[in-house]
Symmetry: C2
Subunit: 197 residues, 2 copies
Amino acid sequence: MSPRGRRPGGVDTRQAIVEAARVDFAEQGYDGTSLRGIARRAEVDPALVHHYFGGKPQLFAAVMDIPADPAALISAVVEGPRDQVGEALVRTFLAVWDSDDGRQRFQALMRAAVTHDEATRMLREFLTREVFGRVVRSLAADGEQSADLELRAGLAASHMVGLAMMRYIVEFPAVVDADHDELAALVGPAIQRYLAP
Amino acid sequence: MSPRGRRPGGVDTRQAIVEAARVDFAEQGYDGTSLRGIARRAEVDPALVHHYFGGKPQLFAAVMDIPADPAALISAVVEGPRDQVGEALVRTFLAVWDSDDGRQRFQALMRAAVTHDEATRMLREFLTREVFGRVVRSLAADGEQSADLELRAGLAASHMVGLAMMRYIVEFPAVVDADHDELAALVGPAIQRYLAP
């Protein structure tokens, strides 16, 4: 038996958690949202939130319909060989978004980001904490001592976001036609220069 | 006397031309639109269109509320010293968009680009012809023989667009706080590498 007033597990529960998370993220931003608060709003046991999603970044990815867990991908890349971080990030990024489905999700994400202030704030806080934060912590842990590490992580992300804008939204032909090897060879060094020169 | 059925010069005329251009660009794209067709729709003499706007890129900038003539700016930069083209492009780009007004216009432009297919098409055709086209022609004229020149111009533009996304829309703090000198010093070499390695 589930606790009184709480939903049992299943598809509806998962969906109820995502819906509750959508409201909390929008109202309180990424940083201000807790899994406990989401469980309360969804009327489920907090353990179920962990069970279905693992943690806040994965739940956010589900709410924003991001096709992978960006935090896990970023961690894998920045913990890999230091001299290949640029190319690896480009390849990982393309692997996530480069499908019909991924393209549509990127378009939806950008549409939300440019038309809704709450979506913009969620995305900013999520990127700051789960993406830039991880990159910067990883580089700093390697003894990198640079005041502009956050700026350089932000510029690397700028380039990736812009690449996706041109490839999936503006659809500039030369950028659409390029394959992963070409993009990794050309964009990889630019990202490398920012993150690990 | 103005010709029968045609408007005399003045504020209304200028506005009528912009409105007619907005319709033609949306219906026929940037490439498919002619100044003559716009004049016909606005019921003005074609000479007035040239008089008020100079040409198609300037009229497009007025329709899209772009705060400067991108074609002229790009031409000026790519005709300048070859070894400073990256930094010059970054500084020019920031000079155009880096004001409260410019920021709002960039937001409106991106909003249109991600929510309206016609706006996306207009922007793609405009960028291809007036921005990339100029960059690629200028580099090719200097004897640059590279099959991937268009791709590299598209990647340079990707980085600039992404920089503006992070600075004006996502508002990632480190990217917002950076001044023009910092951004020129960091992003300039990435653009330089694409356009004139």
